[in-house]
Each structure stands twice: as C-alpha cells, then as structure tokens.
C-alpha cells in the first residue's frame, strides 16, 4: 500500500534526522567550565568536609 510505504518512509526520515541531529550535539566538545565546576564542587566538599552520611 502506497500510503503505508510513505508513512514508513517518513518515519524513517524523521528517525534518522533525529539521530543525526542528536549525535551532532553529542559530539560537541564539553566546555572546560563544566569539568572545572565538578572539580570545584569536589574540592569544596573535601575542604569543608563534614560527612553527613545518608
């Protein structure tokens, strides 16, 4: 059925495009500010360390 074929085709185009766009975003280099932030958070905790367990 032509209609279903078109539908399948259109889903395929959408899915592939979605993946490509997402992968493009994933491949972007993570800015240093985030690594720095994580390092800072860790450091803060270590210096003012008061373990308040869970």
């Amino acid at each position: 059925m032509g209609h279903d074929d078109k539908k399948a085709k259109s889903s395929q185009v959408i899915d592939q495009s979605l993946k490509q766009v997402y992968d493009q975003m994933l491949e972007e280099k993570v800015p240093d500010r985030f690594l720095d932030l994580l390092a800072q958070l860790k450091e803060q905790e270590n210096s003012g360390s008061r373990e308040s367990g869970q």
Binding site: S10, V13, L18, Y22, L26, L41, Q54
Partner: protein
C-alpha cells in the same frame, strides 16, 4: 566514605546532558547555564539518587525540572531561540537529503517542549517509554501520544507526505548543515 562516589559518574553524562539541554532550550548559552544549575543540584542532592538506578535518567530529570522551573520563573511561554537551527536553511536546495536534515531542524524547533523532549528521550537517547514517562512524570500512553503527534507534525512541516524520494545522504548532509559549531559565546 564509600569507595565509589556515584558522582564520579556524572562527567560521563555531560555530552548527553548538554544535548538534552540544547534540545529543550534551542539556545546554546541558555542550555549551558541550565546544565550548570543541574550539575550543582545533582552534586548537592546526590543522597536522593538511588544507587543502581539509571544515573543518566536521574540527571536528565533534574535538568528537565530546572528547565521548566526556570521557564515558569521567567514567566515566558516560549524560550528565546537563538536560531542555532534556523540558520541552517539559508536556501532551499532540491528535495534531497540535505533538505531533509535542514528541514528537520527547523521543524523540530517548532514542536512543543513536551513533544521535543519525548522525541529526544525515546527516539534519540534510547530511553524506554516507561523511563521517559517516569522522567516526565506522566503516563506511558502520554509519552506515546506525544511522540506520535510530534512525528505527525514533523512529517507535515517537512512535507514528507508529498515527497517520497527523500534519502539522507549522510556525508553531504552533515557537511552542509554542520556549519560553524554553535559557540556558547
């Protein structure tokens, strides 16, 4: 002090977090601010994370909550979109792969937040419907219908119904639409 701090894992999820943030905000600077907020929250609220569960899903949930609460605070219906995607379609080539991907980006930007997030979570990030429903705090059926509606809307915006000969020609497509990396200022 436990030998393995689950927070050590956070760094691995940074690319995915940024991609999700960008999908929601469609604005590079805003997305990164949001990721930063989410990281601080995740770090300080790690006791709320259940070991053994999906860390990425947990981080995405925090990010998502940050997005919606920021938006409510800002009192805006629509976030500013800086055109990271719209710039890709400076001109319309014939109906081919390039157009398909460029059109997709523009069409994607026009979906509602809920449709975009459902598509990204399930269609791109590989979460199950159930996981996505948990993250969006809604029913599985709701996620499914958002995705269906998103697909239908995309097909309509991309006029896929009328043009069946669409093929994605990967390399050419990427070369054309990749453009300059969207710098965060």
């Amino acid at each position: 002090m436990s030998a393995s701090d689950p927070r050590d894992e956070i760094v691995e999820h940074l690319p995915a977090l940024r991609a999700f943030a960008l999908s929601l905000t469609r604005n590079g600077a805003l997305a990164d601010d949001m990721v930063q907020d989410a990281l601080v929250k995740a770090w300080t609220k790690i006791h709320l994370f259940e070991p053994g569960t999906n860390m990425r899903a947990w981080l995405f949930t925090i990010l998502r909550n940050t997005y919606y609460s920021n938006r409510r605070k800002a009192g805006r219906e629509v976030a500013d979109v800086d055109g990271i995607h719209t710039e890709a379609v400076s001109e319309k080539p014939a109906h081919d792969g390039r157009l398909a991907l460029a059109d997709f980006k523009v069409a994607f930007d026009q979906l509602s937040d809920q449709q975009r997030e459902a598509l990204i979570l399930v269609g791109a990030s590989g979460f199950s419907y159930e996981e996505a429903a948990g993250m969006c705090d809604c029913a599985v059926g709701t996620i499914k219908s958002r995705i269906n509606r998103a697909r239908a809307r995309l097909a309509e915006l991309m006029q896929l119904d009328e043009n069946e000969a669409l093929e994605l020609t990967d390399n050419a497509t990427m070369a054309v639409v990749a453009g300059p990396k969207s710098a965060t200022i």
